[in-house]
């Protein structure tokens, strides 16, 4: 059973550029959430996608956008990169349903994409 796959694993970009990160969820999961983890910090919630729509959003500027495809995979796009966007970006997949009706509490994380902005 495949877990969560993220690509690329590492990325170096220049300030002002745009970047796209990709995530394939665990089999059976229909929801993808993105987190930003700065060095030495805990992950911060960026947004969540379900049924190809953004369902929840954390305190991140509009430069951060995303997309979910019919196969549940997702992309995170960041425009006009800043030095402060350098971080580990984690994708977590889950099942949106109600606990006890097929859903569990589980979030499965990928190994992340390390983005360095220079």
């Amino acid at each position: 059973d495949a877990g969560v796959t993220q690509s690329p694993t590492h990325l170096i970009k220049t300030r002002g550029q745009q970047v796209t990160l990709r995530c394939s969820p665990k089999s059976g999961h229909d929801t993808v959430s993105w987190y930003q983890q700065a060095l030495g910090q805990g992950p911060q919630f960026i947004f969540q996608y379900y049924e190809e729509e953004e369902r929840q959003r954390g305190n991140f500027p509009d430069r951060f956008s995303g997309h979910q495809f019919p196969n549940y995979s997702s992309e995170l796009n960041v425009n006009a990169l800043l030095l402060g966007d350098s971080a580990l970006y984690l994708c977590a997949s889950s099942f949106y349903g109600v606990v006890g009706q097929g859903a569990d509490y589980g979030y499965t994380f990928g190994s992340g994409t390390r983005l360095t902005v220079v």
């Binding site: 959430s33 805990g42 379900y50 349903g97 109600v98 606990v99 859903a103």
Partner: protein
């Protein structure tokens, strides 16, 4: 807004000994879930243990157990018989609501655990 606080940036333990990692949280919700995640150098977040707030019994998973004090909003992790493979960053996380995977996780800043041989 919910917050999670881990007051120990670093902890160390001798192999085979016991260590306790602390976590406190703040919420006005009555239904929620608490988690401990382990993040080794491979970077993947691995679920260690979880606790449902409505359950009075503390969760246990092999060598890992929690001390959940709902009134005090405290959720500590005890690792017994520590092993070298336990060395990692440990994050305490909170999730509100009763839905499945539709709620975001709120993480603490983490505790770096070192296990000495």
């Amino acid at each position: 807004a919910q917050t999670v606080t881990q007051s120990q940036p670093e902890m160390s333990v001798q192999e085979a000994e016991t260590v306790t990692l602390s976590c406190t949280y703040d919420t006005s919700e009555s239904d929620y879930y608490l988690f401990w995640y382990k993040q080794p150098p491979s970077r993947q977040m691995i679920l260690v243990i979880r606790q449902e707030a409505y359950k009075q019994q503390n969760a246990t998973e092999n060598r890992f157990s929690v001390n959940f004090q709902k009134a005090a909003k405290s959720f500590s992790l005890k690792i017994s018989d520590s092993q070298l493979g336990d060395a990692a960053m440990y994050f305490c996380a909170y999730r509100g609501g009763t839905q499945g995977g539709s709620e975001k996780l709120v993480f603490g800043k983490g505790t770096k655990l070192t296990v000495n041989p």
